[in-house]
Symmetry: C2
Subunit: 265 residues, 2 copies
């Protein structure tokens, strides 16, 4: 990688940022495509978002931002315009300067997840999915799974109101999909069970759910990228179950966000 005065700058903003993988994904993409650009990680505390964004958006060669926790929702308020996924979910994970100077945000978590699953050969049409976690990433994944044509989508969250609201909104947009809230029932067979909670990022986190309680045919999916193989995936693998790590989702996301930034990738 070569950085000079003509390098276009992108940043992922979040707190903490020590575990973010965006710099690796994006810089590898820029490198492979011969684009003179760099993406760095910036640690921005929750209360500093407005001040930092006011500064960053006036920088002439800073063209786009990847937005991660805890700013995915709050960032919506600061942007001039939201794309369709961001409007529906109420959260963004990418923002860009438009030719007229205004800033627009959109959400690529969900499409990245679907792209990652399909790229790894996992069909989604007519499948049954259980999704745990309906924060910004989980909500986006719910919409994208429905859009991809799953047959059934059961969602759960420690915040029951939040999962109910997400189920209702997904159902409104995709009435053909059987969307509801529910608990993970060991007696029910799902084709995919997805962890979209943060459980697994810290070494002493409990498992978000127990893979041993699932049918052995279940594909166990995690959206966490660090560690690449979470304790959940480790356990599922030790039970000879199929696993799918957060890396695939985020690799797909990086391509979609880089194109959103206007780069030829």
């Amino acid at each position: 990688m070569h950085i000079d005065g003509n390098t276009r700058v992108y940043a992922v903003i979040g707190d903490p940022v020590t575990a973010v993988r965006s710099p690796e994904w994006f810089n590898a993409l820029f490198d492979r495509n011969g684009v003179n650009a760099v993406l760095i990680a910036l640690q921005v505390k929750r209360g500093d978002l407005a001040t930092v964004f006011a500064g960053l958006k006036t920088i002439g060669n800073l063209d786009g931002l990847v937005v991660t926790m805890p700013h995915k929702n709050a960032m919506c308020e600061l942007l001039d315009e939201l794309g369709p996924a961001a409007r529906t979910i109420g959260a963004v994970n990418a923002a860009r300067r438009m030719p007229d100077g205004r800033w627009q945000g959109d959400m690529f978590d969900g499409r990245g997840c679907v792209r990652g699953l399909l790229d790894q050969g996992h069909e989604l049409a007519n499948r049954s999915v259980f999704l745990l976690g309906t924060g910004a990433a989980g909500s986006a994944v719910a919409f994208a799974l429905a859009e991809a044509g799953v047959k059934q989508l059961i969602i759960d969250d420690v915040d029951a109101d939040r999962s109910a609201a997400v189920a209702q909104r997904v159902k409104q947009v995709f009435p053909a999909v059987d969307v509801r809230t529910g608990k993970l029932d060991p007696g029910t067979v799902h084709d995919l069970v997805i962890n979209a909670t943060p459980l697994g990022m810290k070494a002493d986190d409990p498992l978000p759910f127990e893979p041993a309680s699932l049918a052995p045919s279940t594909l166990v999916v995690d959206v966490i990228t660090k560690p690449v193989v979470t304790p959940l995936l480790e356990k599922a693998r030790s039970l000879d179950m199929k696993i799918h790590s957060g890396n695939h989702m985020h690799a797909g996301q990086a391509v979609e966000a880089a194109r959103f930034f206007g780069l030829k990738i």
Copy 2:
């Protein structure tokens, strides 16, 4: 170079930044010293400095800034504390977050220039120097040359008040040095003649002075780094005169500023 979520971030802020060499100097330094850090160039318009700095200084993993035109003077107002060179010159070219969270600035243009000259084997003690340009870089160079023990320092600027003020301040601090303002007189032999004006950055700039009018023994010095060989140096070289490019000054500066940032370099 590898950038991840633990990479410490530095930036050079200026406008324009297309010609800045700091990313190359600093990133090579970081790489050689095994430091997980990156320096990027950010284009910050004159009127946006306060807004951008308010944002940048709250970013947790952004530890220091290199400050270039047109912000070297204005930046002083925004910092909590100035180092001795910055206080004397009224300009900074580097700023850092201190352990207590306050931001301190200092000026390394002059010391970088002296270090570069000495590293290339050019003695300064008891030499006679003509210096053209007393902006932030030129003023810093004037102080550092006096500090390095030149015998005589004649300075000139299109702004006669500015060069008179700089001469007076240098004289106050280094009374043993013969410091005065004056024009470049073809009849007078100087050991070094230094261009510290921006003339030579743009392709159609006139030469800051005519090397053919100088004694053939003169060392012709330019502080401009892009192009590395300015039209002034090109002309001097074609006359078989010794030349010294801005690169040497800036390589020295990068080391001094990186240490100021607290890096083990």
